[in-house]
Symmetry: C2
Subunit: 552 residues, 2 copies
C-alpha cells in the first residue's frame, strides 16, 4: 500500500493548507481589524493557490491510479462491502475531486480567492450602508470569474450545473427546477390558507417586525404592523387561533442572557466545547479546522430573540456533524460533509424539527422564562410555540419561517441562473431581486440591505450554493421520519431534554461517514429512499394543520 500512504501524506498537506485558510477566514469574520483586509486577501490567495497546486499536481493523479490498483477498487460496485472502506472511499472521492480540480487553472483559483476576500469586506460595508453600488463591481468580478470557472469545468446544457456540482454532486439544475416547481405548487395553497391569502393580496406589511437591522435604523419601525395583523386575524372570521401569534419575540432580551441560554441548550444537544467554541460574527456560520476544532458563530439582537436563539441551534447542527466525523478521516478529503444539502439537513433538523417543536419547548420554555422574566412573564408555552412558528411572508431569509423559507431560495436560484445566463445584468440585480420577491412572496424590501445585500454568499464567490438549503430542508424531514422508526419515544426524550440517543443515531448513520457517500447514496443506505419532498410536505401539513386547525 505504498501509493496509498504517499497519497495520504500529500492529501494531508492539502488538508492542512485548507484548514489554515479556514482559520484565516474565521478570523476575518470574527476578530480581524477592518484595516487588515488587503493583507488578509493576499494571504488567502497564496494559501488557495498552494492548496490547488499541491492537489492538482500530476503526481497525485498517478498516485490515485496506483492506489486504485493496490485496492483493486475497480473490481467492486457500490453494493460491495469493500466500497465502504475508508481507503476505497478516499480514492473514489479524491479521484472525483482531482478530476474536477485539474480542470480549473491555478491562476483562476487564486483570482477567485482574492476576489472573494475583497468581496466579503465590500459586501459588509455595502450592506451596512445599504448601498448596492458599493458592492456592484466586486460582484461583477466574482460573476465573471465564476463563469470562467464553469466554462473550465465544462457542461452540456446549463452553465449552473458544474457550479451546483461543487456543493451538491449528483443533482442537476433541471432536477432542482422540477423540485422547486412541485414545492411551489404545493406550498402556495398552504401559505394562502395559513395567511388567509394575505400574501397574494399584498396585504402583508413589507417587513418582518424585528428585522436584524432594526436597531440601526429606528425610523423604519412601522407601528402599523400590529394593527394589520389584528385586522387580518379578525377578517378571517375563524374561531381557530390567529395565525400570527402575539409577538413577544421583539421585546427586549438581554444579550448576555441570550448567549448563555443558547450555550446551555447546545451543550444539552451534545456540542463539545473541548473541541469547539462559539463567537460572534455579522453573519452566522460554522467552520471547522478539524473534527477536534469546530467553530460556530452567532449574532444576537436584543430586540429580536429568534436571530440568536435559532441561529445558535442551527449552527450547532452543522457543528455536531463536523464533530462527528470518524477520527480515521482526519486530514483527508473525507473529513467533510457529504454535501451541503446533507450538512443543511443536520442544521435544520436541530434548529427546526427539534428546536421549534412542541416537546422541545415543553422542556425549555420554563427555563427561557426564567432567563427573561420581564419579557416573558405574560406568555405561556403554547403562546410562545405559536409565536416562533408564525407563518408570514417576510424579507430576510435567515429569519423566515420554515414554510415560506423555500420561496427565498427560489428567488436566489432564479437570479443566479439569470445572471450566469446573461438574462439579468449585475447593475439591474436590485430591481430583479425586488421583482422576484414580489412574485414569490408578495412583498418588496425598502432597501437593498433588507434585499439583495442580505446574504454573504455571492460576496464569497459561492454561486450555486443556495438550492442546497432547500435540499437540506427536504432531507432533514426524510431523515427525521426515518429515525423516528428507530426511536419511537423521541418526542418524550426531547420533552425531557435528552438528546443522547438522537445524537448517537445521527453519529452512527450519518456523521461518522463524512464524505464517503454522496447524498443519494447516504439516503439510500439509511433507508430513506431517493430524495423526495413528500416527508417534508407531510411535516408541514401535520404541524401547521394542528396549529391552524385547518386541513392543509
Amino acid at each position: 500500500m505504498r501509493a496509498l500512504e504517499d497519497l495520504r501524506e500529500r492529501l494531508g498537506v492539502v488538508a492542512d493548507l485548507d484548514a489554515a485558510a479556514a482559520v484565516l477566514g474565521w478570523d476575518q469574520e470574527t476578530y480581524m481589524p477592518p484595516g487588515a483586509i488587503e493583507a488578509r486577501a493576499a494571504q488567502l490567495t497564496t494559501l488557495a493557490r498552494l492548496s490547488h497546486e499541491t492537489f492538482t499536481d500530476e503526481k497525485i493523479g498517478r498516485l490515485l491510479d496506483a492506489a486504485a490498483t493496490e485496492l483493486d477498487a475497480d473490481s467492486f460496485g457500490s453494493d460491495d462491502p469493500a466500497f465502504d472502506s475508508d481507503d476505497a472511499s478516499l480514492v473514489r472521492v479524491a479521484t472525483r475531486d482531482w478530476e474536477r480540480a485539474t480542470k480549473i487553472p491555478a491562476d483562476l483559483v487564486a483570482r477567485l480567492a482574492h476576489a472573494a476576500s475583497m468581496g466579503q469586506q465590500a459586501w459588509q460595508r455595502a450592506r451596512q450602508a445599504s448601498d448596492f453600488s458599493a458592492f456592484e463591481d466586486h460582484l461583477r468580478t466574482i460573476l465573471e470569474l465564476t463563469r470562467d470557472k464553469a466554462e473550465a469545468l465544462g457542461y452540456d446544457d446549463r452553465i449552473y450545473d458544474p457550479l451546483l456540482a461543487e456543493f451538491e454532486p449528483g443533482i442537476s439544475t433541471g432536477e432542482i427546477e422540477l423540485l422547486f416547481a412541485t414545492l411551489r405548487q404545493e406550498l402556495v395553497p398552504i401559505v394562502e390558507a395559513l395567511t388567509d391569502g394575505a400574501a397574494d393580496k399584498g396585504e402583508i406589511p413589507g417587513r418582518l417586525d424585528g428585522s436584524p437591522d432594526k436597531a440601526e435604523r429606528p425610523d423604519r419601525v412601522d407601528g402599523s404592523e400590529h394593527d394589520d395583523d389584528s385586522d387580518r386575524a379578525g377578517a378571517s372570521g375563524s374561531t381557530a387561533p390567529p395565525q400570527i401569534a402575539p409577538p413577544p419575540l421583539d421585546r427586549v432580551f438581554d444579550a448576555a442572557a441570550q448567549w448563555d441560554f443558547g450555550v446551555a441548550v447546545i451543550e444539552d444537544f451534545g456540542f463539545d466545547f473541548e473541541h469547539g467554541r462559539q463567537d460572534r460574527s455579522a453573519h452566522p456560520f460554522t467552520t471547522a479546522f478539524s473534527a477536534a476544532d469546530v467553530r460556530l458563530t452567532t449574532r444576537i439582537h436584543e430586540d429580536f430573540l429568534p436571530a440568536g436563539l435559532f441561529g445558535t441551534l442551527h449552527e450547532c447542527g452543522h457543528g455536531l456533524y463536523e464533530q462527528g466525523f470518524a477520527p480515521e478521516l482526519a486530514r483527508t478529503p473525507l473529513a467533510d460533509g457529504a454535501s451541503l444539502g446533507v450538512h443543511e439537513s443536520q442544521s435544520r433538523l436541530w434548529e427546526i424539527l427539534v428546536g421549534r417543536s412542541r416537546p422541545f419547548w415543553a422542556h425549555y420554555f420554563p427555563r427561557l422564562r426564567d432567563s427573561f422574566p420581564e419579557s416573558l412573564d405574560d406568555i405561556d408555552t403554547d403562546a410562545f410555540y405559536r409565536a416562533i412558528n408564525t407563518v408570514r411572508p417576510s424579507l430576510i431569509r435567515v429569519e423566515a419561517d420554515e414554510v415560506t423559507y423555500n420561496f427565498h431560495i427560489m428567488v436566489r436560484f432564479e437570479l443566479e441562473n439569470a445572471l450566469l445566463e446573461g438574462r439579468v445584468a449585475v447593475g439591474d440585480l436590485p430591481a430583479a431581486w425586488n421583482d422576484a420577491m414580489e412574485r414569490y412572496l408578495g412583498i418588496v424590501p425598502d432597501s437593498d440591505a433588507d434585499g439583495v445585500l442580505q446574504d454573504i454568499h455571492w460576496s464569497m464567490g459561492a454561486i450555486g450554493y443556495f438550492p442546497t438549503y432547500t435540499l437540506g430542508n427536504l432531507m432533514s424531514a426524510q431523515i427525521f421520519a426515518r429515525l423516528r422508526q428507530d426511536i419511537p419515544d423521541l418526542d418524550e426524550q426531547i420533552a425531557a431534554g435528552r438528546f443522547d440517543e438522537l445524537l448517537a443515531w445521527l453519529r452512527h448513520n450519518i456523521h461518522r461517514h463524512g464524505r464517503k457517500f454522496t447524498a443519494p447514496e447516504l439516503l439510500e443506505r439509511i433507508g430513506c429512499g431517493p430524495l423526495s419532498a413528500e416527508p417534508w410536505l407531510e411535516h408541514i401539513r401535520g404541524k401547521y394543520g394542528e396549529l391552524s386547525g385547518k386541513s392543509l
Copy 2:
C-alpha cells in the same frame, strides 16, 4: 529588474505562509479549544515546512544573485546612500536569511515546528499543575532538535552563537557574557543600596506579593511580608522614604476597568485599533500578520494591577513598532523588527521609560484613581509612583522591577548554555534553576510554576532568545537619551499626555526601516554610537538615586 520582481513575488509567498502560521499561532494562544492541539500542530508543521521549502528553493538563491547583479549591490559599502534603498536592503537581508535557512534541513524545521506546537500546550498544562515532569519530555525533544539546528548552522566556539544569531544577528555569546559581567558588577551594589542588603542577606521573603498565580493558591499569601518591609525600612536608619512603598498594587482592581484604562492609554500612545486589536492570553505577547494587522495580548489579575497595566503598555510598544513598518516593506523579509533586542527596546521604552516615569503618572494617576476610587482613594501620585518602582528581588521575570530584571535574564542565559553544552541535564533543570535564583537574586521559588515553568519561550523552541531582553533594556536607554536631544520638552509632553512627537521620532528613526539595518547599524545611524550599558546604568542611577535619596 526582472530578477528582483520575481524574487519579490516568491518572497511574498513565504511572507504569506509565515503570516498564516502567525494567525494559527495567535489563535492557539487566544481562542483555540484545548482539544484541538494535535490538528493545529499538524497544520503549523505543514506551514513551516512549506515556508522553509519555498524560501530555500535554489531558484531563490539564483534570483538573489541575479538581483544583486541588477542592483550592482557589490559596488557600494554601508556608508553609500544606495545601501539604504529598499531594494538593496531586501537583497542584502534576504541573502543573509537564505544562507542561514539553506543550512537547516526542511525535515528538521518541520519537526521543530511540531515539537514547539505540542510543547506549548504541554507547558501550559504543566505550569497550571506546577509539574515540571509533565513538560520534561517535551523540553528534552526541543533541546535535542535545537542542538541539531545549531550543528546544522555551524559554529566556531560556542553552540549558543548560531542560536543567538537568529534573534540578534551580529552579537556573540562571548560579548553577552562580558556585558552581563559588567552589569552584574555595577548592579550588585546598586541593588544592595536600594534594598539595604536584604537580598544578599536572604532577608527578603521568597515571593513578590501579588504574584500572578496568587489568586489560584491563596494558601501561599504571606502576611509577614509587610512586617519585614517595615523592619527593613526602619533598620536603614535613613530619613529617606522607605524603598518599599506601601503596596496598593495588590488591592482589588476590577478586570473590565483595568482593560479599559489600558486601552485608553495605548490609544493615547497611538496604537491604531483599525489595524490591530488586543485579546487575552495566558502569557502576553505581540504578533503581526502585516503592519495593518497587529495583535496584542495581555492578561489581567484583579489582585495585582501591574500585570495587566504594564503588560499592556509593554506589548503596545512592540505593536507600535510593527504598525510603523513602511508599507513598501510589506510581504518582504524586511517587514519585521531589526532584531529582538531592538524590538524589546521599543516595548521597554513605552512600558518603563514612559510608563513608569513621574511625568507619565502626573498625567494619568488622577485618571487611574477615577477608575479605581475604592482601591486608590488613600494613595497620591508620589506614593503610587514609588509603589510601581519598588525594587525587590522577586521570582517572576515579567513582573520584576527594572533594576533586578536583568538578573532574571542572566539566570536563563546561564541555564540555556549549560543545557546546550551538556553541563545540566533536563531532569536536573528545576534544581539548577533554584540554585541560579539563589545565586543571582537570593531567593528560591516554592514551586516550578513560579520557577522554571514560568516562561513560554523554551516550550516554543525559542532558545537563545532571552538575552535580547537585556539588550532591549540597554538599547531603550540609548535611544531615549538620543531622542531627548531632539525633543527637549519630552517630559512636559508626556506630562500632558501627548505622545505624537515621540511616536513620530521613533517612526522616522526606527520603525519605518523595519529590518533594513542590524541593531548596531541602526544605533550608529541614529547617533547612539555602539551598543553600551552606560546610558541604562545612568538612567537607573538617576531615577533610583532620586527615589532613594542615595548616591548610587
